[in-house]
């Protein structure tokens, strides 16, 4: 414990150097500014801003990314409340109540409870991350390749099959990602796979190209085709920004409950913030003394989901930093950012690059404070960003999106790949395929394959290794249970129905 505290203190020494503080500030500001843009979620924000960090040292770059990650989420809430266009599924709950509040002239308190709630939840979740991470690292240090592989299979299945509305479409997205992850040179043997001799494909498909293709190009095609002729009303901020005493009284229990819901969900591979925000919304609706206000702008319905969203987003960093396993699309892109610097997150990172990891964690505390200080005073500026006409907005988004892909190899091939992924993203959105499993499959697939082959090399090709080691066997059993459970429940229900 005291060891953790010491490590965290040295982390603050890193995060509070003027230059790193500056990168943190640049990160949260850029993250909020881009995250505010309608249709730009956190994953796309991080992916589009990735090229900006090419010149920074790893620590500075990752601190900036932590800021972008948090800022993007704050920005997204503002958009949701004022425009009612949730940039990501985790914001849908906020849209329900926050936009209604704005329509009733209470945009100010809605934005305030969202910002302060995010700060409270983010800070508590960061404390929990600080305490939990070293414990997970302890356990993870004992993991061998077999355990890692089984853990990744578990993550694949929860993200693709258990979440989402359709198991088969989730798995299809995952396998598309896995297939794309195979493209390039096999690291162990140097064998070229699925690259057709195209030089740009030899070092694999960059996760940024896939993410930007699906999230930016695919979205732009979709929104242009199906939503661009729609008129959207932006709610004005009238009245006070401040929360009344009653608003405070109703908000703080919601923040705390939401943190308790959001953080655990973030740490397990449960696809990020979508489930906890809805759980928090349902909880608040149930516990509220004013259930009649839900659907018409109940402040608990904004306070809870927003806090849950932030707590989950921080929780996602636990498996990402300690195990190297991304459990949301945004985390997958953060992992790509790490890899760009030749850093592979995992338990060893805490030992070999302690200053970097703890500097990053300390910068999360700093980032939360910066966002609270920046966000409410600058709200007028964010509203101006929101008012950019759609044609110009999407023109700008695509210029930045293509820039990120092009600057990888200075090659038209990457732009063509980007467009193909854009078409794919259009089809996936139109026919209800989730996108996150594809992004996670692309980046985690090669890591899973490496662990799989390493485990088999150690066991001299005996696949029993995955089933005889207790941790690995337990994880695989849990995975099988997760797949089987919904089917069994359905089967039992059907049989019971027949008997009656």
């Amino acid at each position: 414990m005291s060891e953790t505290f010491g490590a965290l203190l040295s982390g603050f020494a890193v995060a509070l150097t003027p230059i790193n503080l500056l990168w943190g500030l640049v990160g949260v500001t850029l993250g909020t500014a881009v995250g505010v843009l309608p249709g730009v979620g956190p994953a796309l924000t991080v992916a589009m801003l990735l090229p900006l960090t090419v010149k920074l040292d790893p620590t500075g770059a990752l601190i900036m990314f932590a800021g972008i990650y948090y800022g993007a989420m704050y920005g997204g809430s503002t958009t949701t409340i004022l425009l009612n266009t949730p940039g990501e599924s985790a914001s849908i709950a906020t849209a329900l109540e926050g936009n209604r509040m704005a329509r009733r002239g209470r945009a100010g308190p809605a934005l305030a409870t969202s910002a302060i709630g995010s700060f409270v939840a983010g800070s508590i979740a960061t404390v929990l991350l600080t305490l939990l991470a070293p414990l997970v690292v302890e356990v993870a240090l004992r993991f061998g390749p077999a355990e890692y592989f089984s853990l990744m299979v578990f993550a694949f299945v929860t993200v693709a099959a258990v979440l989402g509305s359709s198991t088969v479409r989730g798995l299809t997205a995952l396998f598309l990602g896995l297939l794309l992850g195979l493209v390039g040179i096999d690291e162990q043997t140097g064998q070229m796979r699925f690259a057709f001799g195209v030089p740009e494909l030899l070092d694999g498909i960059d996760v940024v190209v896939l993410a930007v293709g699906l999230f930016a190009v695919g979205e732009a095609l979709y929104v242009a085709a199906y939503e661009s002729r729609k008129r959207e009303a932006m709610e004005r901020i009238s009245g006070s920004l401040w929360m009344t005493r009653d608003d405070w009284r109703r908000s703080w229990p919601a923040w705390l409950r939401a943190t308790a819901i959001g953080f655990p969900f973030g740490t397990i591979p449960a696809g990020g913030a979508e489930i906890p925000t809805f759980l928090s919304y349902a909880t608040e609706k149930k516990l509220s003394k004013h259930p009649e206000e839900f659907g018409n702008g109940a402040i608990e319905g904004v306070a809870g989901p927003e806090a849950a969203n932030n707590a989950a987003a921080t929780g996602v960093l636990v498996p990402l930093l300690t195990l190297g396993i991304p459990t949301s699309a945004t985390a997958a892109i953060l992992l790509a950012a790490f890899q760009n610097y030749g850093i592979q997150p995992g338990p060893l990172l805490f030992q070999t690059q302690g200053a970097l990891v703890w500097g990053l964690i300390a910068s999360l505390y700093v980032g939360n404070v910066l966002l609270l200080v920046l966000n409410l005073p600058l709200i007028g500026l964010w509203v101006k960003v929101l008012a950019i006409p759609r044609p110009l907005l999407y023109g700008g988004i695509l210029v930045f999106a293509t820039l990120g892909a092009y600057s990888l190899h200075q090659s038209v091939v990457d732009l063509a790949t980007l467009y193909v992924f854009g078409l794919l993203g259009f089809l996936m959105r139109r026919w209800g395929f989730p996108v996150a499993p594809a992004v996670i499959g692309l980046i985690l697939g090669p890591l899973a394959e490496a662990q799989f082959r390493r485990a088999l090399a150690i066991s001299q090709g005996d696949p029993g290794v995955f089933f005889t080691q207790p941790i690995s066997a337990g994880l695989l059993a849990l995975t099988a249970l997760l797949i089987a459970l919904p089917w069994t429940v359905r089967l039992v229900r059907r049989l019971r129905g027949r008997r009656r």
Binding site: P51, K55, F194, A225, E227, K230, P391, G395, E449, L456
Partner: protein, 170 residues
């Protein structure tokens, strides 16, 4: 989408697409060498596994189209999704912008390619103000070019504007 491509027919086409992708991947995977080593599996094992998975998923999707359609499907009627009917011109303008950028970037340079992309996308989103859109695209392209080339030292092609932008680009 074109009117004929909706409902079960579209789902069948997409299911066959997944199946075909799996079959092509399998054909390629089977051409990869074994080269097992200690692990007894080589670079071809996981590709075969993934290809098999895609084939199974394609079949599963296809079976669903014959048994009442995909489960929990997205409504075909855009109105039910809170959207308007498919606007082909919008889709094509955004695509044209991306293709124009690919065609221009190594000849006309980054700035002009960005301006063309920007203006076409804006047109796709319903803007009719070509002059304003081109000007905004040029300004954005120039700003990004200056920032990346002079501040981040990332090379971007200057193209036809080389004389104007200096020799910084490639």
């Amino acid at each position: 989408m074109p009117p004929g491509l909706a409902g079960a027919r579209a789902e069948r086409v997409l299911s066959l697409g997944v199946l075909a992708l799996g079959i092509v991947a399998a054909a390629l995977a089977w051409q990869l060498p074994e080269g097992g080593g200690y692990a007894r599996i080589g670079p071809n094992f996981v590709p075969k596994l993934v290809a098999a998975g895609l084939i199974l998923l394609g079949l599963w999707l296809l079976v669903e189209t014959f048994t009442g359609g995909w489960r929990s499907r997205v409504p075909d009627d855009p109105g039910q999704r809170g959207e308007h009917a498919f606007v082909p011109a919008a889709f094509l303008w955004v695509s044209a912008g991306l293709l124009a950028q690919m065609a221009l970037i190594h000849t006309g340079g980054f700035v002009l390619a960005a301006a063309a992309l920007f203006a076409c996308v804006a047109r796709g989103f319903g803007s009719r103000r070509w002059a304003r859109d081109l000007a905004a695209g040029l300004a954005l392209g120039l700003a990004v070019f200056a920032f990346f080339v002079h501040f981040l030292n990332v090379n971007l092609p200057a193209g036809w504007l080389r004389a104007l932008l200096g020799a910084a680009g490639t």
